[in-house]
Symmetry: C2
Subunit: 688 residues, 2 copies
């Protein structure tokens, strides 16, 4: 067994009594969740380094939005300076190197999400895009971005009037053969690029997607261009550009999202990212698909890497939330007698409110860690020119998995953050509980990198295609997530026949019920879709009318099934001693999730009568009760160190009220008379 | 018909095409929702007055938390100065006067929730408490608070370690007969009063609830005291007090929530609010229940008035949210062809996401307006010494109604705010969309004035008692909300037998299905509770084990039923021409809410097979589709004027992108180089 002594022991205190009932060692569970001891060490190294750096101290008063942007920039500079991505790591395999980058990203995100977003969209995303869309001539940008960290970029796709529908974006890049330049232009404000992270204040360059138009007037669709935005010496924007900041947002205010309009703005011809297509000096458009497998793999990475990153970050957010709420619930008692007040954690309702999310945090973490491995291996194989069987089919399946999982996980985490805040009552409403900030910073994830509602439709498309496939031939599911569709009719014959909760606390029951649900939802959605097509609607119209309770529920159910499937498989490979707790969390998550789909199970005839609902909910409650003795230790494994968790309600010493007192007594100016006291008593004459 | 020309016409623009399909006049609907033309006029008078006052201009950059507190205080002063509560109104009947106060509160809340909260807890709540708990000797405080507006108070009940459980609060008020004073004392930080609004910075006095102890050492339980906190001349806190600010919060940061510890702090004996009990000069405790009906009525008002205020404010919050999202959905198009992009409002999924909340906004508004009338009439009758039949039973029923409705409405509004933000995509994430602020400011309502989870247990207690009652005698339901329990067995015999959606779009279907649900949930909860008691648990333990899917679902269902019941009755009294749209919204809300309880309907045997779910959901979708032509006009009726709605995404002119451009281009400093640009390029040398 690996030595985990680098993980600091937790301080003794009121949480002891909740920890001593644990059936496992929290450090072993923490390792299992991280999946790799070296990555876990890297994370702790980063956290310890940043904890010692005054630049990363938590401000006691929230700085202005402008100051948040400045601090975020300084923190990015500092992290670049620390070089956590060592030359040794840079020499590792693609998979290992990328996982190290992801780990750094996660470690930074748990501390200040704006910093990780700023780096992701300013360094990693554009440098990846340069690799996949650009050629040798763009290496100088790649080097300056990723290797030397001299410039910060942005990624400009969305326009004011077009987000989800990229097809209709209206920024043009017209080639001028006389000067060998592209002329970028925004026809009007509706075509202004917007929401571009790093554009408002800080980037020097931006990747810009524009409709490429050749001198003959032909539009060749969206292409990527590397566009200079600001003079790297003076940070002044160049003439021909209108660039501004999007202003204050609900969260991640350390990011300077910007908008931009081009007024006949000229860039060199060479700035077109020309891996798949180029324009000759004379202005002839040439498309070159010389290395289809490499391009496909690279395209896959661009599409999915950002969304996988969001899911990894979401795992950290939900981990922090449930850690705060569970520690609070252990140390906060209410009702009972003065001599023995009852900790919130003892109440069945409180367990039910929190433990489903605790289980989700663990299942998501294991799912995403495991899925990331699979994903990176395929990208690596494809990038290295290795022949990958069914590459195109794998790419489609991965896209469907990501497109369903990103919505499902980010929405679940958003609900978790809210429930945890409410479960901490009024004290949870304090800024220093950190639940509000975690939630606000997380909120954008349900919208960006593909709006959840739109994204889940794409996953549905793939599922429907597989379903149709299954009727005439075997399904194309190289990752095996829907091979069971080859047995749809047997699956659909299954009926609920349990009579006791113990029969439901079973992996087979859960997974096979999910399979039934997916098959039934596919059948329903498919029938409705076909009947709408038959009635004369276009595909687009028919799809739009199949979303509510069909397409959308289907992709949600599929994503939950994926989480369970991957998690179960991964549990079998974990250390023996922590498998039992992981299995119990798996079961809880499975039943807690199935609970949301009971209507469909009744509607589709899987069950009738009181048994199904009573047993699913009964088993869920039993699993919650059984988790109580382990709950504190589970969140010890989920929680980052106190400095990172940054919640006055949930220090690992469990000294809730002492910590609260210290914070309140030490608030700068919190106990002084307000400097504006004269505004309170302008003409006060009362002698009461 | 009343002349509604005082309501300004809405400007012409892109929303015209969505307005011209309306089947009714939005101004008539607006009047119907407000319920009283004079109150509607008062609201507009307030809004027009404040719009002209620079002090109420919306800041373009969010001020610091400290500055928000200052501005809130100044705005409170200014509103006091405007005297919207005219001497004429003060001479009106209790009901009319109170409704005017409530209307002022609502008008102010839609603009700046911190101001209305500050006035509610600083003026109305303590002055009401003085009336109900105090006697003549406290009139000077009442006059200074409400009439002269010379002082601002606070209401200190919650302690650091005790919120929901008031019984165990530990602040003491020990009578000292030698000096004829009460000595207030906080044994430790856990007994510090906290979360007290206005205490952190501004109040001069606070109502404090403490355990009254007589010189013989007997504790007589919690009593109210009027306690001087700050010198009204200097705003310095008095010696013997430790007073501090709670710091930054998730929302309503204009409120200075504070904490306070007493160190043997002396106040005059007369400051005990002595209506129900007093301590003689010699230190003898005397309880006097001379006017039980008045006390009961007053107690009722104190308990419920604050929660009714929260529900009224919640109605405004949900109205603003759905107005923003629906106007955005009409003016934002995505997908389709370049020539005819499809407005989001046309998508079935988008309708489904929003229209249930539109219906909820209308139903809640009518329900709460109607319930408030009933409530105030009972309080008036009881206060005036009139004999009210079943006063005690009415008080209990009202408490149950409020205790179930406050959780149900505030939670629904919170979900609405979130869904509306998401439905506005990235643009909804902008601060200036106002959805984030509405949500953050609303969020505390699910916790304060009785945590929703705890409050709903109280409503459940009453329902269970009525259910038990119904078995042996007639139920005590003077307001008639559960008289149907006298027919439980007939109701429970009903079975779902519809075969077409038209049969479900029916008031009778909805209300009778709700009755069935309530009966079934009562039966289930009661059986479980009894079996737990029989197994040896205490009442408290047994209740705690009946919450999940029973007690809590029951009170939620009861609250939805109340909203429907009151709303339906009120619709019948509205102008004929707007009854059809109100009825359709009623049906949509009813089916959309029933949709959440399909599991229980299957589980309890009300239905089996696909019909119920398919028809309830089908009918709901049909009603959404049918609402499309009226949606813009419905939100015109729900929306306050643009100045109050304060959303760049939803000006009534519908010029989405022009308004967005203006806002972005006019952001102070938004297009300038950051003053901290040197932090971005500390050693930049790249010549790229």
């Amino acid at each position: 067994m690996e030595d985990l002594s680098f993980l600091p022991d937790l301080p003794s205190g009121p949480l002891d009594e909740f920890r001593k009932t644990a059936t496992f060692d929290w450090k072993r569970l923490k390792l299992a969740l991280e999946g790799d001891i070296n990555l876990l060490k890297l994370k702790y190294k980063i956290w310890h380094t940043l904890e010692k750096d005054p630049l990363f101290a938590h401000p006691s008063v929230t700085p202005s939005v402008e100051e948040q942007k400045r601090i975020t920039q300084l923190q990015v500079n500092r992290i670049n300076h620390y070089k956590f991505l060592t030359p040794e790591v840079m020499r590792l395999s693609y998979v290992k190197k990328t996982r190290a980058i992801m780990t750094i990203n996660e470690a930074v995100q748990s501390l200040n999400p704006s910093v990780s977003v700023k780096m992701a969209i300013g360094i990693y995303l554009p440098s990846n895009a340069l690799l996949s869309l650009g050629t040798e001539r763009h290496y100088k940008f790649y080097e300056a971005l990723l290797v030397k960290r001299e410039i910060l970029a942005a990624f400009a796709l969305t326009e004011v009037a077009h987000g989800s529908d990229a097809r209709l974006m209206r920024t043009t890049a017209t080639y001028d053969a006389t000067t060998r330049e592209f002329v970028l232009h925004s026809p009007d404000f509706e075509a202004a690029k917007c929401w571009v992270g790093n554009l408002g204040r800080t980037c020097t360059h931006s990747l810009v997607f524009a409709q490429l138009i050749t001198p003959d007037g032909t539009s060749h669709g969206l292409h990527g261009f590397m566009v200079p935005i600001r003079d790297p010496e003076t940070l002044e924007t160049y003439p021909g550009l209108i660039v501004g900041d999007m202003g204050e947002k609900i969260g991640v205010n350390g990011i300077d999202n910007g908008f931009m309009m081009f007024n006949q703005y000229r860039i060199p011809r060479e700035n077109l990212l020309n891996r798949t297509a180029d324009v000759t000096e004379e202005g002839v458009y040439e498309s070159s698909f010389s290395e289809p497998s490499r391009i496909l793999g690279a395209a896959l990475e661009n599409l999915s890497a950002g969304r996988i990153g969001i899911m990894q970050e979401s795992c950290n957010s939900i981990s922090s939330c449930v850690s705060i709420a569970v520690r609070y619930a252990a140390t906060r008692a209410q009702f009972g007698s003065a001599a023995r007040e009852i900790p919130l954690l003892e109440y069945e309702l409180h367990q039910w409110r929190l433990f489903g999310y605790v289980a989700a945090a663990v299942v998501f973490k294991i799912y995403i860690e495991s899925f990331t491995r699979v994903y990176l291996k395929i990208v690596e194989a494809s990038n290295s020119g290795q022949k990958v069987d069914n590459l195109s089919e794998s790419v489609s399946e991965i896209h469907a998995m990501v497109s369903s999982s990103k919505p499902m996980t980010t929405w679940t985490v958003l609900r978790a953050a809210q429930e945890c805040r409410e479960a901490c009552g009024g004290h949870g409403f304090m800024k220093r509980a950190n639940l509000g900030d975690i939630r606000s910073n997380h909120e954008a994830t349900v919208t960006y990198e593909g709006d959840n509602s739109v994204l889940s439709q794409q996953a549905g498309n793939w599922l429907l295609r597989q379903y149709e496939c299954s009727k005439t031939q075997a399904v194309d599911s190289p990752l095996g997530t829907v091979t069971f569709l080859n047995h749809t009719s047997e699956i659909m014959e299954r009926r609920f026949a349990c009579t006791h909760t113990s029969q439901l606390k079973d992996k087979e029951f859960i997974l096979s019920t999910y399979k039934w649900l997916i098959c039934w939802l596919l059948k329903e959605t498919h029938e409705k879709y076909e009947s709408l097509l038959a009635s004369g609607l276009t595909k687009f119209q028919a799809k739009a009318k199949c979303q509510v309770y069909k397409w959308q529920t289907l992709t949600e159910v599929y994503a939950e099934y994926l989480a369970l499937l991957f998690c179960w498989e991964a549990i079998g490979k974990k250390e023996k001693e922590i498998q039992p707790i992981l299995e119990r969390l798996f079961l809880l998550y499975g039943l807690w999730s199935l609970d949301k789909h009971l209507v469909e199970l009744y509607q589709g005839g899987f069950a009738s009568g009181p048994g199904l609902a009573a047993l699913v909910r009964g088993a869920g409650r039993e699993l919650c009760g059984a988790l109580r003795p382990d709950a504190a230790a589970v969140v010890d494994a989920l929680a980052p160190p106190d400095f990172v968790l940054n919640s006055v309600l949930a220090r690992s010493d469990g000294k809730l009220y002492q910590n609260l007192q210290k914070e309140l007594f030490h608030t700068p100016g919190g106990m002084q008379r307000a400097t504006w006291w004269r505004d309170v008593v302008p003409t006060q004459q009362s002698k009461l």
